[in-house]
């Protein structure tokens, strides 16, 4: 008698769990549809041929006449390969500068004692409160004075120092035991050797995190290219697609194909380095 009631309760609990799981999966899938559909639809638009209308009721996810024409057009008739190359250059130098400057600045802030250290650190942290949206006018004027309007240098420099990146690297350097430097000093290493050979290998994980953050930032950068670059031949993909979309030079299908091309590098890097992205996300949230 007692035994059966326990069984009943167990089964009830099991049913309750199962129902919870099913409800969870339904909700999870609906939200996934919400996040993924814009990508799928863009891909479908990019694959539609010129004589198939993009907007039909009901919308057709799978094109009737699937074609790669748009991708070929984008590649051969529109300057997308050039934009892609510009994005690569801006991203490469942007990442390199951000990482180099942050690892350099983080080192003395964490490992050395000198007059004014805490003050400098405070100022660096305080600059995080200055939104670039508020200072874009003077920065534009400064770049103008430096003759950097219309150049990649002008696009890269304003965002090359990442105060938050300096903060991250300082935290990473703080965690290294003192003995490592001391034994290197006894071996006669100079200051650059200590930084480059002894300390940098210790902060590789954080450097990877910073690298990912600055990769996303540089690959997607738009504000400075928009303000500074006037020549079409200098546009990165973001700016190029924005201009193409507004200019009737390209059809919606072709802009869609260009967008897919712009997404691919991010998608590849993301799938290869998933775990690091999650870490980067979490450490980028400690800044508060």
């Amino acid at each position: 008698m007692k035994n059966t009631s326990i069984k009943k309760r167990k089964r009830k609990k099991f049913n309750y769990r199962l129902r919870g799981k099913i409800v969870s999966y339904i909700v999870l899938t609906l939200i996934a549809v919400f996040t993924i559909v814009p990508f799928i639809w863009t891909l479908s638009t990019a694959l539609k041929s010129a004589n198939e209308s993009i907007f039909s009721i009901p919308p057709k996810i799978i094109p009737v006449h699937m074609t790669l024409d748009n991708f070929i057009n984008v590649w051969t008739q529109l300057p997308i390969p050039l934009y892609l190359w510009n994005s690569v250059i801006i991203t490469f130098w942007g990442m390199l500068l951000t990482m180099a400057i942050a690892t350099m600045a983080g080192y003395p802030l964490a490992r050395m004692r000198f007059k004014g250290r805490d003050f400098v650190f405070l100022i660096i942290i305080a600059t995080m409160m200055i939104p670039v949206e508020a200072t874009m006018i003077p920065i534009y004027l400064i770049l103008n004075k430096m003759n950097l309007l219309g150049t990649f240098t002008g696009v890269i420099l304003p965002t090359a120092v990442n105060a938050f990146g300096i903060f991250l690297m300082r935290q990473a350097f703080l965690g290294i035991p003192r003995e490592m430097e001391e034994s290197a000093i006894i071996d006669g290493a100079n200051i650059f050797q200590i930084w480059w050979k002894i300390l940098l290998p210790q902060v590789k994980p954080m450097l990877a995190t910073l690298g990912i953050l600055s990769f996303i930032g540089a690959w997607n950068s738009f504000l400075w290219p928009l303000i500074i670059l006037k020549e079409q031949s200098k546009y990165p993909l973001t700016l190029g697609l924005y201009r193409l979309e507004g200019a009737f030079e390209a059809s919606t299908r072709e802009v869609a194909a260009g967008s897919i091309i712009a997404l691919i590098p991010i998608l590849i890097v993301f799938l290869l380095l998933q775990r690091h992205f999650v870490n980067a996300n979490i450490s980028s949230s400690i800044k508060g």
Binding site: W41, P59, E133, L241
Partner: protein, 286 residues
């Protein structure tokens, strides 16, 4: 130690130089320019508080301020609450849950320009979004081309893009909440909602607060979405403060007036930061 002061400054030099040139000097310069009349071609001339007088009588400024606040009110509560719910949902031991998490996170990595383009197509009158709504008998809605829905549309995209990012932040917090607390709540017969109301919410307070602050900052600074999706329209319905700064500075070449608006924007962000630090300070004391 062999470290000398000059070593420290050598390593700090590039960072300090660039911060001076691209952050510290500009913020003082923009405040100064706010008191001048400046069109780039002739040197700035001091006009005192004229720009600010103009500003307070400019309906465009008030509309932009209103739009900024409207956008913020739509985005921040939605992001703060929905991404917490989502984090609770994905914090279960379910098969393929990692794949779901990655799918939710991916939009955050996509360039805002691409995001804006994707959603422009989604929001077209004959687009996908209206199709979903037509299935439940609503529509068609002129998402981006009607003054009353344009800002909501931009807000939806912002939530779409940020949801997974904030979800991961919450998730890290959720995983550090002690399992025993949940077990104790279950022993007391608490159901799903009661359990989270009494255990999750108190434990997550600092993170909830943090998320709301970060998304507030983001909301006051957003500009690209409006530029690409609606170009500030229709009829200025999505022209925010940053958008107005951009338009006045780089389209109308009113650098002085634009600087005054930028200064107001900076002060707003500063005030929010200080309120945030105050609340966080009292929170820690309590």
């Amino acid at each position: 130690m062999i470290y000398k002061t000059r070593h420290a400054w050598t390593f700090l030099f590039p960072a300090i130089l660039l911060l001076l040139v691209f952050s510290i000097i500009p913020i003082f310069w923009v405040i100064y320019l706010g008191f001048t009349d400046y069109n780039v071609f002739t040197p700035p001339s001091w006009v005192g508080i004229e720009n600010y007088e103009k500003l307070f009588n400019d309906p465009k400024f008030w509309a932009a301020l209103k739009n900024t606040i409207l956008y913020w009110v739509m985005v921040t509560p939605a992001i703060t609450i929905l991404s917490l719910l989502l984090a609770i949902l994905v914090n279960q031991k379910l098969k393929a849950i990692k794949a779901y998490q990655l799918a939710y996170y991916f939009p955050f990595l996509v360039s805002v320009v691409i995001t804006a383009l994707l959603w422009k197509w989604m929001f077209a009158t004959d687009g996908m979004f209206n199709y979903f709504f037509s299935l439940i008998g609503i529509g068609p809605i002129k998402w981006l081309t009607s003054q009353s829905t344009a800002m909501i549309s931009v807000a939806i995209v912002t939530v779409w893009q940020g949801l997974g990012y904030y979800m991961l932040i919450y998730l890290a917090g959720l995983q550090s909440v002690s399992k025993e607390l949940y077990e104790a709540a279950e022993m007391d017969g608490a159901g799903f909602w009661r359990k989270h109301w009494h255990v999750t919410l108190p434990a997550m307070r600092p993170i909830i607060f943090f998320v709301s602050v970060i998304s507030t900052m983001g909301a006051f600074k957003e500009f690209t979405l409006m530029l690409v999706m609606t170009n500030g329209g229709p009829v200025n319905a999505t022209t925010t403060l940053v958008f107005l700064v951009f338009k006045e500075a780089f389209e109308n070449i009113n650098m002085g007036y634009a600087s005054a608006i930028a200064t107001v924007l900076f002060l707003l962000v500063l005030i929010i930061t200080f309120i945030n630090m105050k609340i966080q300070g009292t929170d820690q004391k309590a």
